[in-house]
């Protein structure tokens, strides 16, 4: 019975494991990853608040959150640096699990079933679905773009680094990338809320067995198959 | 200046040669741009460098420094050869028709009477033929072969465009273009103005440079007219005033001269100064010399100056040499013959040539007193600043007093500008710290010395004990008291010469001007040319009425101009022999049949008939001199002479070096370099961002021009592989400096006497005190030789060598 599982493996995160329960719980993120995620998340939120303040006059009032325009101008790039570092620690740990595969193509092709929530029609999935992978890679690439263009526009230290025409392009790209990353951010957050039972993965670190069965069955079976079960709990 | 700054707007052609007006006098130069903008005037610049003035010129011609006479003589020849002469003016107002004694001549670069031993001329033949009537013989037809005009033509004959190119390095076509433009000003309705400065004076033949242009201006009829004249752009705010007031070794006030040992008594002294007219009916204003001299002596010594003691004539020191000029004084100092020196607002170790000699001289003093508002290099000459002032402090035994003075903003008083305007200014701020007015300091030293003489007696105390010092507070004479003393007053009632019963000036009243001065001791006057500055009307120097009827630029209501509030000197010459203005649109004064009237104060007796009395009233001839007689040591005509340090030989006499009659001390002769050792022709100058060594103390000007540099051509830079902004070492026989290199297209090598001559330009604003970067000055390199007539050092032409180098080293000074 267990052979099928043992034949076709998906990738597992280091701490991924099942607690027999009852009720069955599945460990999805360890404390390290969770802290890392929230540092990144908070930085991103602060960045988009401070960024938006300097992006559109109607949002300039947001500078008050940071103690005025001068402070906002000063702090925004530094938060950017924090975000960059913290995100890429996360990246180092998760990128393998986010490499796309055949199932993702099928999943994406049936996006209507995804939105409709008819997951019975979808293929069994590993730890991440194509949507999550898209967010992961999207974030990663945009953060690189933002940090690079951000540095070019960082008057205080890098004002002389590049020519003014280059800086103009940098600022344009920076703002476009910012818009894009905000959209992805929304998608990420919304998906987490809409897919009930997801958020606890980043709070408590675990999801219910049912959540894993419904959304990432292959991942669950794989853990079971490889005996990643703690019977005592 | 013969004319005022504001008069320049009336010109048709501005020739800036031997100066750099835009750079050194920007606000005066404004009037050049006005003339350009509103009269369509043209601007010519002749200079070794393409200067800031050149940047707005209509035509620029390069010239090798020190070759100006050849250029100007060339222009004069061009004008005469092409009949571009204002004949009427030249005939009526110059000595062109005067017959010169036989024997006078010029050969091999020398005039008759040269004595190589004495380095001097016997000038007896350099004079007019005097007739039985005691007057000079003239030939108004100008046909006499010995008349000045024909001798001048003969003298100028060699100065062809080819020779000019050979000597000056000015390409023939450029020279001819300049000559053509200048010659156009020979018509009565076109005038040219000459603006020059130290580019002409700082040569061993500086006076002759200026004479050459003055003669050209006379030939063109441009002296005494609006928009014309010889305009010396004086360097300091009151350098004109200090000259007028005779603060010079050979002068007394108002161009009265110091007695020499030949002047055994007052009568002898007067006999050589009250010049009698050389032509019938001429003014020869110096006939009044005695009135001015007696009034001066009364101003100095009051009641102690009596007719019996020859007006205290022997209170004045008598000179055994033409002058104890600064070069002579530092030569004496260097020989240990001077013990004390007072420097009032003066910075000799940056101002005088051969800095090493100046420093060694100061080191031999027993004591030195400096009076300045700012730190100066001189007051700290004993302080070691690494390469910037490499002295052995401990071995310098000079005792130094550095006295803090107020600056302009903290005092009342008048300054005389280049246009001879005496402008009063008022105190605006309180002096900092314990800074004191110079007049207070002088009074204190004087009073303390006088007290010592009273108590102890001593060597010839009379002139000190009797010096009139009757000020309300003798510790600090006020500017008003001193100004009134300069103007002069009646010491007893002065009667009207036309009506002896009428009191002209009551005792104790200010004289209206020098016309009321007497030679009987009834008047006193500190400086006759200034008389009228503060009379009973009040302080005329404080007047600020800027009305200018018909926009002539005269501004008679603005302050006071000497003499007699006259704005244009020789203005009588602005009208023809019959008193009609040469150019009706540029009238200054005209003869209305009975008197002279117009926009300015006539430079002649108001009723002097035009046909009878010549315009040049200070001259015995009544006319101006194309031929200077024996009055200049180095020749009655300007002749080409090379600088003492020249990259080429004198083409008139290849053995002759420099000015044949200029004084050279033996030790300095030994320190003259040759072009073999020092191939490059250096010159020194100002930059517009700085004023001498003052503004380097000021953060703003220091930011605008922060660091000492030298300017060289791209060609020389390539030859020596010197890079833009890199360090170079420049050295002469007398010293060495380090500077940043400014490599520029504005300096080009010239071809002189068949060989390329590279020019090295050295600005003069840096030292080792102040806000700017520490640096050097050209005086570290310049030669210790002066002009043959007035001993102005030859700082504008000397030889140097140059090489790439490294930054100079400084030393931290414990303050």
């Amino acid at each position: 019975m267990s052979t099928p599982a043992s034949t076709k493996h998906t990738k597992l995160g280091s701490e991924d494991s099942i607690r027999r329960g009852p009720p069955v719980e599945v460990v999805r993120y360890g404390p390290g990853k969770r802290i890392n995620h929230w540092v990144t998340a908070i930085s991103l939120i602060l960045l988009l608040l401070s960024g938006l303040a300097m992006f559109h006059p109607s949002l300039f009032f947001l500078t008050e959150l940071f103690g005025g325009g001068q402070m906002t101008r000063w702090i925004h790039p530094w938060i950017g640096v924090v975000l960059f570092i913290s995100f890429f620690i996360l990246f180092a740990q998760l990128w393998k699990l986010n490499i796309p595969n055949r199932d993702d193509v099928k999943w994406a092709s049936q996006i209507s079933d995804v939105i409709g929530g008819n997951e019975e029609n979808l293929p069994e999935l590993g730890k991440y679905n194509a949507g999550q992978k898209f967010i992961f890679w999207g974030m990663a690439s945009l953060i690189i773009v933002l940090i690079v263009t951000g540095i070019m526009a960082w008057e205080q230290y890098f004002g002389q680094l590049t020519s003014i025409p280059t800086q103009r392009i940098a600022l344009l790209v920076h703002s476009l990338a910012a818009v894009a990353i905000i959209l992805i951010f929304m998608l990420h957050v919304y998906a987490a809320i809409w897919t009930r039972g997801t958020i606890r993965a980043m709070t408590r670190g675990t999801v219910t067995g049912g959540w894993a069965w419904r959304h990432h069955r292959k991942w669950l079976k794989d853990m079971a198959g490889r005996g990643r079960i703690d019977p005592t709990k | 200046m013969t004319n005022a700054w504001t008069d320049i707007k009336n010109t048709d052609l501005v020739v800036v040669m031997g100066g750099n007006a835009a750079e050194a006098h920007p606000c005066g130069f404004k009037w050049v741009t006005e003339a350009k903008a509103h009269r369509g005037a043209k601007l010519i610049v002749v200079d070794p460098r393409y200067t800031r003035t050149a940047s707005v010129s209509d035509f620029y011609a390069p010239i090798r420094q020190g070759s100006d006479i050849a250029f100007l003589n060339g222009v004069m020849k061009y004008c005469i050869d092409n009949g571009r002469v204002q004949w009427e003016y030249m005939k009526a107002f110059t000595n062109a028709s005067y017959i010169v004694k036989d024997g006078f001549g010029y050969k091999d670069g020398l005039f008759t009477g040269y004595d190589e031993e004495k380095r001097d001329y016997d000038r007896s033949t350099w004079d007019y033929v005097i007739g039985e009537d005691g007057f000079a013989v003239t030939d108004p037809t100008l046909e006499h072969p010995r008349c000045v005009w024909n001798l001048l033509k003969e003298h100028l004959a060699p100065y062809t465009p080819e020779l000019v190119e050979q000597v000056c390095g000015t390409p023939k076509d450029k020279f001819l273009k300049v000559a053509e433009m200048i010659s156009e000003c020979s018509t009565p309705t076109k005038t040219m103005t000459s603006m020059y400065a130290l580019g002409w004076t700082q040569h061993s033949k500086g006076s002759q440079n200026i004479r050459a242009m003055a003669m050209l201006q006379l030939i063109l009829g441009n002296i005494g007219v609006r928009g014309g004249g010889m305009n010396a752009l004086r360097g300091h705010s009151n350098i004109q005033g200090l000259t007028d007031l005779g603060l010079m070794s050979h002068l007394l006030t108002g161009y009265l001269t110091m007695p020499s040992e030949k002047d055994t008594d007052f009568e002898t002294y007067m006999s050589t100064r009250q010049f009698k007219p050389l032509r019938p009916g001429q003014t020869s204003y110096w006939q009044n010399y005695k009135k001015f001299m007696v009034s001066f002596q009364k101003a100095m010594w009051g009641d102690a100056a009596t007719v019996e003691n020859g007006w205290a004539f022997n209170y004045l020191p008598k000179l055994d040499v033409p002058a104890y000029d600064v070069l002579r004084m530092f030569e004496l100092m260097n020989n240990g013959k001077v013990n004390g020196y007072l420097c009032q607002g003066f910075n000799p170790i940056l101002a005088f040539p051969n800095r090493a000699k100046i420093t060694s001289s100061l080191s031999k003093l027993k004591f030195m007193v400096t009076m300045d508002p700012l730190e100066t290099e001189t007051s700290r000459f004993w302080e070691n600043h690494g390469d910037f002032n490499d002295v052995d402090t401990a071995s310098i035994k000079t005792e130094v007093f550095q006295l803090p003075t107020t600056c302009f903003a903290e005092e009342d008083g008048s300054l005389t500008n280049s246009g001879r305007w005496l402008q009063w200014h008022w105190q605006a701020s309180s002096p900092p710290g314990e800074a004191k007015h110079d007049s207070w300091i002088i009074a204190q030293i004087f009073l303390r010395m006088r007290e010592l003489y009273r108590k102890e007696g001593g060597a010839f105390p009379d002139p000190i004990l009797n010096l009139s010092w009757d000020y309300e507070d003798e510790n600090e004479p006020t500017a008003e008291e001193l100004a009134k003393e300069i103007n002069g007053r009646a010491l007893s009632d002065v009667m009207d010469p036309t009506d002896p019963t009428k009191v002209l000036v009551a005792s104790g009243k200010q004289v209206v001007n020098f016309s009321q001065l007497k030679d009987d001791g009834s008047t006193m006057c500190g400086c006759w040319v200034y008389s009228g500055c503060w009379n009973e009307v009040g302080n005329n120097m404080g007047r600020r009425d800027n009305h200018d009827p018909d926009d002539t630029g005269a501004y008679l209501g603005w302050t006071f101009a000497w003499p007699l509030n006259r704005r244009t000197l020789y203005n009588r010459a602005s009208a023809d022999i019959n008193g009609k203005a040469w150019d009706p649109t540029r009238k200054i004064i005209e003869w209305d049949g009975a008197k002279w009237t117009g926009y300015d104060v006539p430079d002649i007796a108001p009723t002097a008939k035009p046909q009878d009395v010549g315009p040049f009233i200070m001259n015995q001839e009544g006319v101006s001199r194309l031929f200077a007689r024996g009055m200049m040591r180095d020749g009655p005509f300007p002749a080409h002479m090379e600088p003492f340090e020249s990259p080429v030989e004198n083409v008139f006499n290849r053995k002759m070096r420099g000015n044949p009659v200029a004084r050279v001390f033996a030790s300095d002769a030994a320190q003259l370099g040759t072009s073999a050792e020092f191939p490059y022709a250096a010159t020194s100058y100002r930059l517009t961002e700085h004023f001498h060594y003052w503004t380097k103390h000021n953060r703003v000007n220091s930011a605008l021009q922060p660091e000492f540099f030298v300017e060289i051509s791209e060609e020389l830079a390539k030859e020596k592989n010197i890079e833009q902004g890199g360090w170079v070492r420049v050295w002469s026989k007398r010293g060495s400096v380090k500077a940043k290199a400014v490599v520029t297209k504005r300096i080009r090598p010239l071809i002189c006497d068949g060989k390329p001559v590279h020019i090295v330009g050295i600005p003069l604003h840096w030292g080792f005190t102040g806000s700017a970067k520490k640096g050097f000055g050209p005086n570290s390199l310049a030669a210790f030789v002066g002009d043959a007539n007035i001993e102005t050092p030859e700082s504008k032409a000397f030889l140097v060598n140059i090489e790439p180098s490294t930054a100079p080293k400084d030393k931290e000074v414990n303050v």
Binding site: I18, R73, L172, W213 | A37, E689, V742
Partner: protein, 330 residues
């Protein structure tokens, strides 16, 4: 009589010393950075302009000096790098700068020393103001003066990127942007800018833009008469004209004057950044937010069913039993 003429002079009277109301107020603003709805000004001031006649300029730097003194800036004492231009660039403490270029005229083969006074051009369409994200940090008065209001400046340096002439500089000391104010404080009490007043040759003059254009015509005619066929007025239309204009002897090639732009305009990149991107970006984000919100409210949430929980339990139990069984066999 021509010689009774005098160049226009910036000042006809010495500055007032009695207390005075400023005459440039918010009521005179026609543009305000990062501010969309600005009340129209109650009055239209006559447009003013500073005219810089490069052909009359002797490069004496009086303008720089007067500027420093009037604005109480504190430029540092730099070093010589082989040129007359000092400091070497505009700084937060040097709002104007003489730029020197040695140019050999190919037609005449003569050297021409071109000296241009660099500084804010006070564009009618100011790139700095367009780029500025901080409301009221950059303002434009109806007389044409573009001024920086330092209290509102956040120091982001967007103005530097927005300016087609590379003028504004950010102070390292207080991180605010600085540039020529056209001496708005002097103009506000009826005095011309300090630089124009000081200029010894009146190469810099100040007055109404109309008068300055008229004066320029006269100057250009004079230059043409002196052989400068291409003399002309530099009042670049690309930025809607400027309130600092040049008379150039070679108006056909402004770039020879230390890289004065031939056809300056606000960069297309800046236009897109501050135009399309700003609005589209906000719109897209708004829509996305709205979209998700609607879906959240009306769409059915993706819930895990009881059945699925049991399925999971089964799977887990199964595999546990499977393991235990194997142990027994062993």
């Amino acid at each position: 009589m021509a010689n009774t003429m005098d160049s226009p002079r910036t000042a006809v009277s010495n500055p007032p010393v009695q207390p005075m109301e400023t005459n440039l107020t918010q009521r005179d603003l026609i543009r305000r950075s990062a501010t969309s709805e600005l009340p129209p000004p109650e009055r239209q001031l006559t447009p003013v302009a500073k005219l810089i006649d490069v052909s009359k300029c002797i490069g004496c730097k009086a303008c720089q000096s007067a500027c420093v003194e009037w604005n109480d800036t504190n430029p540092e004492v730099g070093e010589n790098v082989g040129v007359y231009t000092n400091p070497h660039d505009l700084t937060a403490d040097m709002f104007t700068l003489m730029r020197f270029s040695e140019w050999i005229n190919p037609e005449t083969d003569n050297l021409e020393w071109l000296i241009r006074k660099d500084g804010c051009m006070h564009c009618a369409d100011p790139g700095c103001l367009k780029a500025c994200p901080s409301p009221g940090a950059i303002v434009q008065y109806s007389n044409g003066i573009v001024d920086f209001i330092h209290d509102n400046c956040i120091g982001c340096g967007y103005c530097v990127k927005g300016c087609p002439f590379n003028i504004p500089r950010i102070s390292k000391a207080d991180h605010r942007a600085y540039k020529c104010t056209l001496c708005s404080d002097r103009v506000a009490v009826g005095q011309g800018p300090a630089c124009a007043k000081a200029c010894p040759t009146q190469a810099i003059v100040f007055g109404t833009k109309e008068d300055m254009k008229k004066h320029a015509e006269g100057r250009i005619a004079d230059l043409k008469s002196r052989g400068y066929a291409n003399a002309g007025l530099y009042d670049p239309p690309g930025v809607g004209g400027t309130h600092v204009m040049y008379v150039l002897h070679h108006n056909d090639k402004p770039h020879i004057y230390a890289d004065l732009p031939d056809n300056p305009a606000i960069s297309a990149v800046v236009q897109t950044w501050k135009g399309a991107t700003k609005y589209a970006g906000l719109a897209v984000m708004g829509l996305a937010a709205a979209g998700t919100l609607l879906h959240g409210l009306f769409g059915r949430a993706n819930r895990v069913s009881k059945h699925e929980e049991e399925e999971a339990k089964e799977l887990v139990d199964e595999s546990v039993e499977h393991v235990e069984k194997r142990e027994e066999d062993a």
